[in-house]
Every structure is written in structure tokens, then in C-alpha cells.
């Protein structure tokens, strides 16, 4: 029984914001790897500025599909065109999708988009075509500062598991009860908020 649990993978990603420099290499690599059309993104980097000169800082928040453990998009799809695989990746069947865009509305993270060239819904799949060949997702491989760490949470020897056990981490919108599988280390509260900051933060600045 224990061996079976160990073999089953549970993919997740950690984004270490102490290292991120906001270079957007991950966004570009994702676009190139997955042929994402202009105007839509599977992975993007949010940048906010805080403070007034000379006390000013920039904070980055690379975002992508969180491959939630309780994905509202899967629950609400009327034709079961999207589902969560055993390894944790949330997949879309592009031949079954009717393009109703209900999953787009349901997703709290705006992770999905309608491909303007072939009108179906698409999103980040953790580059599963690369993972199954033993490679890492494109955004992870290209990051010049190794801010993105990808791995199997069921394997205690993986770097991702060790990082999460050693450091405090945050997720996007924990109150949504979606149980995201993308974790952030040292994420700024203002960057985590929608629209770059809560009104009470802007008033202070």
C-alpha cells in the first residue's frame, strides 16, 4: 500500500520570489513552447511598485494555472471536457470543449483563455508533454535565477518538498478553498491582492 502511494505523483510548483527578477523569461518560454497566440497568456508576471522615491520597491508575481486540488473549473464544466489527472495536472480535452467559457468565469485566478485562432479554451498544463519525457516545464527550465521549482510533492527527496517544509509559503486566494498547487515564498501582500493592491494600502501610500 505504501509503495503504491509513493509511485503516484503529485506535481506542484514553488515560485521563490526572493530570487525572481521579473525578467519575463518564463512568459516568453511558455509562449514559444506552447505556441500561445498574441494577446493571451498561460503564464505571466505581475509587477507592482510600492512606496515613494527614494523608498520604492518593485515586487513580482509570476502567475499561471494553479492546478488546484479542488478545481472549480472541473466541477462546473457541462461536458466534462476538463478533469484533474492522478498526477495533479488539470487537463482540457480540446475536442470536447464547446467553448461556453463557463470555466473562464469560474476560475478565481483568470488562468484560462479562449484561443483566438481556434476558439476553444486553453491553459497551462505544466508542459505535461515535457514532463512525461523527463524534462521540466519550459518556464522552470528557462528561469535564469532558478526561481521556479517544479516537482513531485509525494517524493520527500525532491527540492520542492524540502523547500515547502522549511519555508513559510503563500498561495493565491486561499479563502476560495481551491487548494492551489502553486506555492509562493516571500510573496508581497499587495502583489497577491487583485488589481495590484487593496484600497486601504493605496491610501497609506
Amino acid at each position: 500500500m505504501e509503495k503504491k502511494v509513493m509511485k503516484k505523483k503529485r506535481y506542484a510548483m514553488v515560485i521563490d520570489l526572493r530570487r525572481c527578477i521579473g525578467c519575463h523569461s518564463c512568459s516568453v518560454a511558455c509562449k514559444a513552447e506552447n505556441r500561445v497566440p498574441l494577446g493571451v497568456f498561460r503564464s505571466w508576471v505581475k509587477i507592482i511598485e510600492k512606496g515613494r522615491y527614494p523608498n520604492i520597491t518593485r515586487h513580482f508575481l509570476p502567475s499561471l494555472c494553479n492546478q488546484c486540488d479542488h478545481p472549480p473549473c472541473v466541477i462546473n464544466c457541462p461536458v466534462q471536457a476538463t478533469w484533474k489527472q492522478e498526477d495533479g495536472i488539470v487537463i482540457i480535452d480540446e475536442h470536447r470543449c464547446i467553448g461556453c467559457r463557463y470555466c473562464l468565469s469560474t476560475c478565481p485566478y483568470d488562468a484560462r483563455y479562449v484561443n483566438p485562432l481556434m476558439p476553444i479554451v486553453q491553459k497551462c498544463y505544466f508542459c505535461h508533454h515535457r514532463i512525461y519525457k523527463g524534462l521540466e516545464p519550459a518556464c522552470v527550465e528557462v528561469c535564469p535565477v532558478k526561481a521556479r521549482i517544479f516537482g513531485d510533492l509525494n517524493n520527500p527527496e525532491e527540492e520542492i518538498t524540502k523547500l515547502l517544509s522549511k519555508h513559510p509559503f503563500q498561495v493565491l486566494k486561499p479563502e476560495m478553498n481551491t487548494h492551489p498547487m502553486v506555492y509562493y515564498i516571500a510573496a508581497d501582500l499587495v502583489a497577491l491582492e487583485a488589481r495590484g493592491g487593496a484600497p486601504w494600502m493605496r491610501m497609506r501610500e
Binding site: 464547446i98 476560475c107 487593496a198
Partner: protein, 275 residues
């Protein structure tokens, strides 16, 4: 919903003077039901795959349930309307009652679709299903009142004075019913606003959008004022409430308000940034 439920009530009452209203409601519901699914099909990015909704259904998805409600409602409505127009009282009552929960489901499921979309703060409220039902009642009643008045002034030349007086009395009763549902609708909207203003960040952003942002003119000007407060004010004046032109004008205002409400909920609810 307003058309169908008014028609069913008229059929159940089995009073001769309510028959015209029963017929108007039955036919009106059918016409609208014939048009609505076409818009839904056009909205799909892959309309030719619509049959997937029947073969790959998801029992946890409100849209899956809506597919079956929207398919069965017109069929039942057609049979009901046929019996109503033929004057078959008993079968009309049976089919009318049978279709009533399906009518409620058709108009309620759209509210559920929005409520279950947890990503949108404006949508994710348990008030949406009942708000959609109530607004469907109000808009249906408003349309019946307009059509009833048009029928009274252009198609009742062969009726005697007593029948005409009865027709007017029925229209006035429908106006009273519409006022009650309008008050309920305004109360639900006020409750929604109050909770949005005192809830989490995205809910408060929605509140700001509606009251001070891009959607404020449509929400405050059209939905609340033109579609809610002005009609209530006008209907509180007896002369306007009982006058056919006053009634029709108020109904047009109400229909504009409800159209604005649907636009604001659907489009405005998606305009709040999520990240």
C-alpha cells in the same frame, strides 16, 4: 416565467374573464422560448458541438441541468399552449402544473450558473437564483400588462361593457402583483449591495464599480432609478396606476431596468480584475 406562471394561474382559476390572459401568457412564453436557445447556441465558441451537452453531461454543472430544462420546457409549453388555445381545461391544468416546476427551474438555473462561479465576487452569492426568478416574474408581468392593454384597446371592439370592465380589472390586478414582485426585487438588490459593501476585497471592488465606477450610470441611473424607483413612485399615484398609458410607460421603464440588471450582472460581474 412571468408569462407562463400568469397563464397557469389564469388556467387554474378557471374563470372565463382570465382566459385571454391565459392565452397571451401561453403563446408569449412559447415565442420567447423559441428565441432564447438560439442565442445560447450562437454564444458558444463551438456551436456545432452543442450535442456534447446531451452526451457528456456533468451532473454537478448547472449548465448540464439547464440543457435538460431548456429542452423539456418548450415541449411542455407547446402542449400546454395547445390545450389552452383549444379550450381543453383539464389537460391544460395538468400540463400547466407539470410544467410549472420546470419553468421555475429554467429561470432559476441561470441564477445558479452565476452563483456557482466562485471566481466572480458579484456572482458568487446565494441571492442570484431568487433574484433571477423574481426579475423574470416582474418582466413577464410587465410584458403581459403591455400586451393586455394593447389587446384591450385594439382587439375588444366586439366585447360588451361588462367584459371590458372585467378585462381592465384583471390588468389592474396584474399591476398590483407586479408592484409586489418589484418591491421584492429592489429589496434583494439592496441586500446584495449591503453585503458587497461589507465583504471582502473583490466584493468591495464590485460595490465601488457599481456605485462609483464605470457601471454606476447604468446601475444607479437605469436599473435602480428608471427601472425601480420611478415606476414605484408612478404606480403609487392612483391616476397613473389605473391609466393604460401610465401602466404601459411604467412597464417599459421596468423592462429597461431589468435588461440593465442582466447586463450589469453578466458583464459587470466579469469586469472586476482577478489578479
Amino acid at each position: 416565467m412571468g408569462f407562463y406562471s400568469t397563464s397557469v394561474m389564469a388556467t387554474l382559476l378557471e374563470k372565463r374573464e382570465w382566459k385571454p390572459i391565459g392565452k397571451i401568457g401561453a403563446v408569449g412564453a412559447l415565442i420567447i422560448l423559441a428565441i432564447a436557445p438560439i442565442f445560447l447556441l450562437i454564444d458558444l465558441n463551438q456551436p456545432l458541438r452543442f450535442w456534447h451537452l446531451f452526451f457528456y453531461l456533468n451532473p454537478f454543472s448547472a449548465i448540464s441541468w439547464g440543457t435538460f430544462f431548456l429542452t423539456s420546457y418548450p415541449l411542455i409549453g407547446l402542449i400546454y399552449a395547445w390545450h389552452v388555445l383549444r379550450g381543453n381545461s383539464r389537460p391544460a391544468k395538468i400540463w400547466g402544473l407539470f410544467g410549472f416546476p420546470i419553468a421555475i427551474s429554467v429561470h432559476g438555473y441561470t441564477g445558479f450558473i452565476l452563483s456557482l462561479a466562485k471566481g466572480r465576487a458579484f456572482w458568487n452569492t446565494s441571492l442570484n437564483p431568487i433574484l433571477f426568478l423574481v426579475s423574470a416574474m416582474v418582466s413577464g408581468l410587465a410584458l403581459i400588462i403591455i400586451i393586455g392593454n394593447l389587446r384591450y384597446y385594439f382587439f375588444t371592439k366586439n366585447e360588451n361593457e361588462e367584459q371590458k370592465a372585467t378585462d381592465l380589472r384583471i390588468i389592474n390586478k396584474l399591476v398590483t402583483t407586479m408592484i409586489i414582485f418589484l418591491i421584492i426585487e429592489l429589496f434583494l438588490m439592496a441586500s446584495d449591495l449591503a453585503v458587497l459593501a461589507n465583504s471582502k476585497t473583490e466584493e468591495y471592488m464590485t460595490f465601488e464599480l457599481l456605485t462609483r465606477g464605470d457601471w454606476a450610470p447604468l446601475f444607479l441611473g437605469v436599473e435602480l432609478t428608471l427601472g425601480g424607483l420611478i415606476p414605484l413612485l408612478m404606480l403609487s399615484i392612483k391616476r397613473i396606476r389605473l391609466h393604460p398609458i401610465g401602466q404601459c410607460l411604467v412597464c417599459v421603464f421596468i423592462l429597461c431596468g431589468i435588461l440593465a440588471m442582466r447586463i450589469i450582472i453578466v458583464l459587470g460581474g466579469q469586469s472586476v480584475m482577478l489578479h
